[in-house]
Point group: C3
């Protein structure tokens, strides 16, 4: 790409301070940028780099009035930057059309401009929307529905009856709709409980690599609109996740848990079965949630407690060696007093 700062400012509804005729040809982070690149500054932690970066121009917030280099002031520099990235960066070459080795079952309906790459298998009765791209080695089970503009990366397995919305991204190795983990134990033998439900993934969801999302026992496991899931996450049967949640890597959510909207589960968090986590809750990394949480709670620890309580408790724990010393001293003093008082009598 070759764009002037003036052209870019128009794209992102920003204002140039400095020479708006300067041409940029690439984009990069503020620390890695080279001359010719445009970069951005949103995290104030990187403020010292504003005059140190080698970039030719910087997209900044409106708080910044000027800098040594030309800047483009915008309402949200990060968002502005992601906007120009999609315009500027040559996107990876994506699969197009139906590869001759793609196997398409009976009664499959494909929207316009669907791409099915090599060795994709689409089972009977599946419906795929317009412009959806499926990379090599994916398996799409029978009677699955996939919306428009979705991207499914290589070697994803989607089991029968799944429902996947528009603008969904699913990364490699992920499994959607595997059987939930449910057994009836009689005389020590575990009998499989059939898992008859399905998985529903709403619009604008992104799912990382090697994620496992189980189908419901009955009814459905749901990932709400706009929710983003990181790598190696486990979502058990009948879990219902609200909208715009962030589920960070290696989180495990047990069966029948419900999450409200805008919930954040940080890395390696575990949630026991059948609890409800309210809107806007934040569960800090590695915590174990053993009880339902009402909306807006921020919790930490194992078992997870409100973060203020958990931090106070943790400070107490870290101080224990000193507490033991204090108690020992008190003990000695009391013995001394006791002795004195005995003598005194």
């Amino acid at each position: 790409m070759r764009k002037t700062l003036k052209e870019i400012a128009v794209l992102i509804d920003g204002e140039v301070v400095g020479d708006e005729s300067i041409v940029v040809t690439g984009i990069a982070g503020i620390q890695e940028a080279l001359p010719g690149d445009i970069t951005f500054l949103s995290n104030s932690k990187y403020l010292p780099f504003i005059d140190r970066t080698q970039a030719s121009a910087i997209i900044t917030s409106r708080d910044i009035k000027s800098a040594k280099k030309p800047i483009i002031r915008a309402d949200n520099p990060s968002l502005a930057f992601t906007k120009i990235v999609s315009l500027i960066v040559p996107q990876e070459a994506r699969p197009k059309g139906l590869h001759p080795t793609a196997i398409i079952g009976k009664k499959v309906v494909l929207g316009r401009d669907v791409a099915l790459d090599a060795y994709v298998v689409i089972a009977d009765g599946t419906v795929i929307g317009e412009r959806t791209i499926i990379y090599p080695g994916c398996y799409i089970g029978a009677d699955t529905k996939i919306g428009d503009n979705s991207v499914i990366y290589p070697n994803v397995s989607i089991r029968e009856g799944s429902v996947i919305g528009n603008n969904v991204i699913i990364h490699s190795g992920t499994v959607i709709g595997s059987d939930g983990f449910g057994f009836v134990t009689v005389d020590g033998i575990h009998h499989k409980i059939p898992q008859l439900g399905k998985v529903v993934i709403e619009d604008d969801v992104e799912i990382g690599s090697n994620v496992s999302i189980d189908r419901a026992r009955f009814d459905k496991t749901v990932i709400g609109k706009g929710t983003k899931i990181d790598n190696l996450v486990h979502i058990a049967h009948n879990v219902v996740i609200g909208k715009n949640c962030l589920i960070v890597a290696q989180v495990g959510i047990s069966g029948s848990v419900t999450l409200g909207d805008n919930v954040v589960l940080a890395g390696q968090v575990g949630v026991v079965g059948h609890v409800n986590i309210g809107d806007n809750c934040v569960v800090m990394a590695q915590s174990g949630v053993s009880k339902s949480l009402s909306a807006n709670a921020t919790v930490w620890g194992y078992p997870a407690k409100p973060v203020d309580t958990a931090k106070r408790t943790n400070a107490c724990v870290q101080n224990l060696p000193r507490l033991y010393d204090t108690v020992s001293e008190l003990k000695k003093k009391i013995e001394k007093i006791d002795n004195k008082s005995d003598k005194g009598q």
Copy 2:
């Protein structure tokens, strides 16, 4: 399906209380059921739903004498229900026969009615029993043995020399027989220790999606008969798991650990290498097992302790802020006493 309660009662050895001529056409959970469905009640927690469910009939335990709706009394309602499910529900259409794109190596022996779906690769010398079904994209390494009636879902990788029993279910993305993690470090360089053993999976085992089970260094890694493994579990080389264990999602078991029979490892548990966990042990979620456990232990925490001890310790921890207050008060009192006693002298 269309079945009368009378017909269903015969199938599950139950007794109808109410109109046995009622016809049911579907099945569902007690909360989701609609008119025409049959449901079941096994967990007493759901007892209030017995008169609220929209189901046309309910399978109950023998304790329930009658309800507003017709019931079928059975010894184990859950188990009875799973029985009728398999009779009633139209099973997913499963692959049949040998797909023309399945690649079958030399000296492969296939039992009657084996199904190998599209793009399956079976390496040389492998033997597969009757009615076993292998979904698209699976790789079965050389000299592997798979028994009868097993089901291997899409994109599973089974490395050479593995032995898999009858009625085994393996979900998508799972890897059986990858090399164990073993190195000899000389002058800071890690030299690979060849992993020459194999993996043996006995009859009636179910393995979730994206599970990793490593082959042994020598000898074998074993998953015992009837054991059920959830998603994203790691089982290292030379682990030996007994019969009818439940290994919940994201558990990690280090090398050379042995588990007895009927062991339960709850979600995200970790077990250090070379320890033995006795029969019937239960390790609660997120615990870390650092020592061997004798049979029938229930443990919790990090490091894991007997659950009573762990709960008492945890209660103590949660109470620490108050303990600190108490100790402060005692300190003040003692200072006061000390002062008095000084004055008194």
Copy 3:
């Protein structure tokens, strides 16, 4: 194989004590070995087996002077053993040549003796070095570079632009170069931040099964030379790992973390984003690292602390019930003293 102890001693630069004409035909661990096998003893824990093993000969350290059975004394018995294994054991039959179903894109460059097995897909512009072997079902994205003598097991997905060195081993189900987890949140909606960087895997790295390594936002995610990664590990975008590290199963490393050389992260460890872990650090199992660590630190716990501190703190925690008792007693004594002193006045 059929080799005399004399022949083996030459291969490993060892010294036979006992009958050097004895022929061995197999190898095994000291507990599993049968007559005809050679075994080895490196861990002193197994010393009692030296006279109990059924093996025909034992490779030992130089400390051992003799045994009932013939021994071969060597500098490093483990390493010596792995050496002879590679000479002695018939290696698994590996794929050879270009399978007719392998799909090779435009402008792909393949070195001599590359093996691409069934249903492998190599996208445009990829370069693969000599003798590298790619098993069935793997996807190699566009413009990827793979060095010489690397082995990629079935169903691995490598996204576009990745750089992989020589002698690299990648186990099944692993995903290299999936998008990092990065979003800009505006008014509660998470907007994807394009992930424009790549993954670089240096020489001699081994990566277990079902691992996820994300591409960088800009620049690159790096796995340093000689580092070994176990199963189900998550490595986020922009992580830079040094040389000869050991990353054990189910570890999660958040974005932009850097690790020095020779770092060990034990099983299920989590590391928060943007911290640095110095050379030779050891993080014990299940720990959570929340701050940077200077070189040579050994830490444990959640949050992770220097191991001595953490152990002392943990001992204090385990002793809490007794501390509570002690404090109760002190309280009673003080009350008694208080009463006395009141009476005394």
